[in-house]
């Protein structure tokens, strides 16, 4: 089963929930940190990395001797990644989505493809659980291929927890797509509620069942709860607003290790979301 953790708004506690739930379940669980732009779960798990795999995107390589500058590739490319100017072809590799279309349309066979590294995937074990995360190279705009490569490591026979990036657009969709269910982490503030609403809309669109965890319970107002009640969204867990939890987070310590009772609570959270996925 695949459970993803998302939020819409950033900084609501996705990594906190993902890491603490994974550690509470222990062995046999796999955690993937799909926030490849700013991965943080490894700070809490201190994994031993046994494999580092570069991630490549195929980009066009033009043989100027064969190229007639006909511009068919330029006309085809939807991403403006190739241009002809002053009798020369220019490739803008960071814009290239690697679809391979330019090579297909080239009438003289002047275009080949070469691999360009856009990031890497690191695989290992941390806190007794299987763990992998990705890192997008600095300056690369598209995290998609790194997330895709990361998700190829999903162990279909076990339980996989996916820590998704913030936001609601392509990298989030890429991360949560194919999950059996999703936990939306929010905080009881107008910003938290707004992010939650957006993610509820996205998950409706891609048809993934979900439930809510409220983090920093006690701050803000009651509108998140009213919204969940009205929309019949189950609130499976509340994590109280606590200076101590914030301090432990700041030091990279999963708080379930310091507070009694939370291992059971996170295990129950998992049982509850599993039921939602099954229904």
């Amino acid at each position: 089963m695949i459970v993803s953790i998302a939020s819409g708004k950033g900084g609501t506690g996705k990594t906190t929930v993902a890491v603490n739930m994974a550690l509470s379940l222990g062995e046999g669980v796999q955690l993937l940190d799909c926030d490849v732009e700013e991965p943080n779960a490894h700070i809490f798990l201190q994994p031993r990395i046994r494999e580092v795999r570069p991630v490549y995107v195929p980009v066009p390589k033009v043989d100027e001797r064969l190229c007639t500058h006909c511009g068919k590739c330029v006309g085809f490319c939807q991403f403006n990644a190739i241009a002809v100017a002053a009798g020369k072809v220019m490739v803008f590799p960071e814009l290239c989505h690697g679809c391979g279309g330019c090579r297909l349309v080239c009438p003289t066979g002047a275009i080949a493809e070469e691999n360009r590294e856009v990031g890497m995937v690191k695989i290992g074990v941390g806190g007794g659980i299987d763990f992998a995360y990705g890192e997008l190279n600095i300056g690369e705009p598209m995290p998609g291929p790194v997330i895709h490569e990361l998700k190829r490591n999903i162990n279909r026979l076990g339980t996989t927890i996916i820590d998704a990036p913030p936001g609601t657009s392509c990298p989030v969709i890429e991360s949560v797509y194919g999950s059996d269910c999703c936990i939306l982490v929010t905080e009881p503030t107008p910003f938290g509620l707004h992010g939650l609403r957006l993610m509820v809309e996205v998950l409706g669109e891609i048809k993934i069942p979900f439930a809510v965890v409220v983090n920093r319970a006690g701050i803000g107002d009651k509108k998140v709860y009213e919204y969940c009640e009205k929309e019949r969204i189950p609130v499976l867990l509340e994590i109280p607003h606590s200076r101590r939890i914030a301090e432990l987070y700041s030091q990279g310590i999963p708080f379930m290790r310091e507070f009694g009772g939370w291992k059971d609570r996170f295990s129950s959270l998992f049982s509850a979301i599993k039921e939602i996925a099954g229904g």
Binding site: I43, P141, G167, P171, H194, V202
Partner: protein, 302 residues
């Protein structure tokens, strides 16, 4: 005209709180909310929309089953696994057009996909350019560019300077689109190990694009040792620390009230620290040699 972007790498460090407060302090200013997939600035500024434009940022393949002979060439050539059983999955389709090209029967064409809306609005602090990306839609980078172009038009029309940009979290395409060509990037971080790690990556990005960064350590008193470590790290990178802002529950109260913290509680600790930071930003912009116009609005008391 000058442009200041507020970014963070890590989400939830307080970008919008700072941008909205700066807008309140600036008097009349143009704002651009470039966090187009999870915009929040409007929650504090309650904009009145005066113009709405549809955003068609990408394409989507569509198969005409009457012309299709089921040869599966489209499926075989699609690198995004977006076609299965001769159906296009709109979530996976990148709109590249390879399927349409390889189809021997002309059964596939690319259709424009409406991916959201861009808005121009009026707020109590000046005009605002913002957008809403449709649910599960792609291409937020292009929408960010549209939002920034709209903001620039408004700034030119009204002769307002600078433009305040609320950026998205992360380091990917919408961040790059928010960052390129600005005069100053204010990077908001928090004194956590995650915050520090994310700061390293976002500062590598500003350096990659040659943009001057200034760091704000928000909620610095949550972990003063980490705040010191962050300041030390910035010093090592030759990056200035613009401000340290205290953890102040008033900030959340202001958000619940739908106001910026400098309006809601002008005398609270965080408000004082944000005001000092804004004065410093104005100072820095007025001495920025990149800009010839120098028309910076002065801070007004509200």
């Amino acid at each position: 005209m000058k442009q200041v972007v507020v970014i963070s790498g890590k989400g939830g460090t307080g970008k919008t709180t700072i941008v909205a407060s700066f807008a309140a302090l600036a008097g009349r200013v143009v704002m651009a909310d470039c966090d187009v997939d999870a915009a929040t600035l409007h929650l504090l500024l309650t904009p009145k929309v005066i113009r709405q434009q549809e955003f068609r940022g990408s394409k989507l393949a569509s198969i005409d089953r009457d012309k299709c002979n089921g040869c599966l060439l489209c499926e075989k050539n699609c690198r995004y696994d977006a076609i299965s059983d001769l159906k296009v999955d709109p979530v996976l389709c990148e709109g590249c057009g390879v399927c349409a090209f390889v189809c021997p029967n002309g059964a596939i064409d690319l259709q424009d996909r409406s991916s959201g809306y861009a808005y121009i609005s009026e707020t109590r602090f000046g005009p605002m350019s913002h957008a809403r990306l449709g649910a599960a839609e792609v291409n937020s980078g292009k929408l960010v560019t549209l939002v920034r172009n709209n903001a620039r038009l408004m700034a030119e029309t009204e002769g307002l300077d600078p433009i305040l940009i609320d950026g998205p979290p992360g380091i990917g395409c919408p961040v790059i689109a928010s960052l390129t060509g600005v005069n100053l990037a204010i990077v908001i971080t928090e004194p956590t190990l995650s915050g520090l790690r994310d700061l390293e990556r976002i500062l590598a990005l500003t350096s990659h694009f040659g943009v001057t960064p200034l760091v704000v350590i928000n909620m610095y008193d949550i972990n003063k040792a980490n705040a010191d470590k962050t300041a030390e790290f910035c010093k090592g990178k030759n990056v200035g620390v613009l401000a340290k802002i205290s953890f102040d529950p008033t900030v959340t109260e202001a958000m619940v009230a739908g106001k910026t913290v400098v309006e809601y509680a002008p005398s609270c600790t965080a408000s004082g620290e944000i005001r000092r930071a804004w004065r410093e930003v104005l100072n820095i912009l007025s001495t920025d040699p990149d800009d010839q116009r120098g028309a910076i609005p002065h801070e007004t008391t509200r």
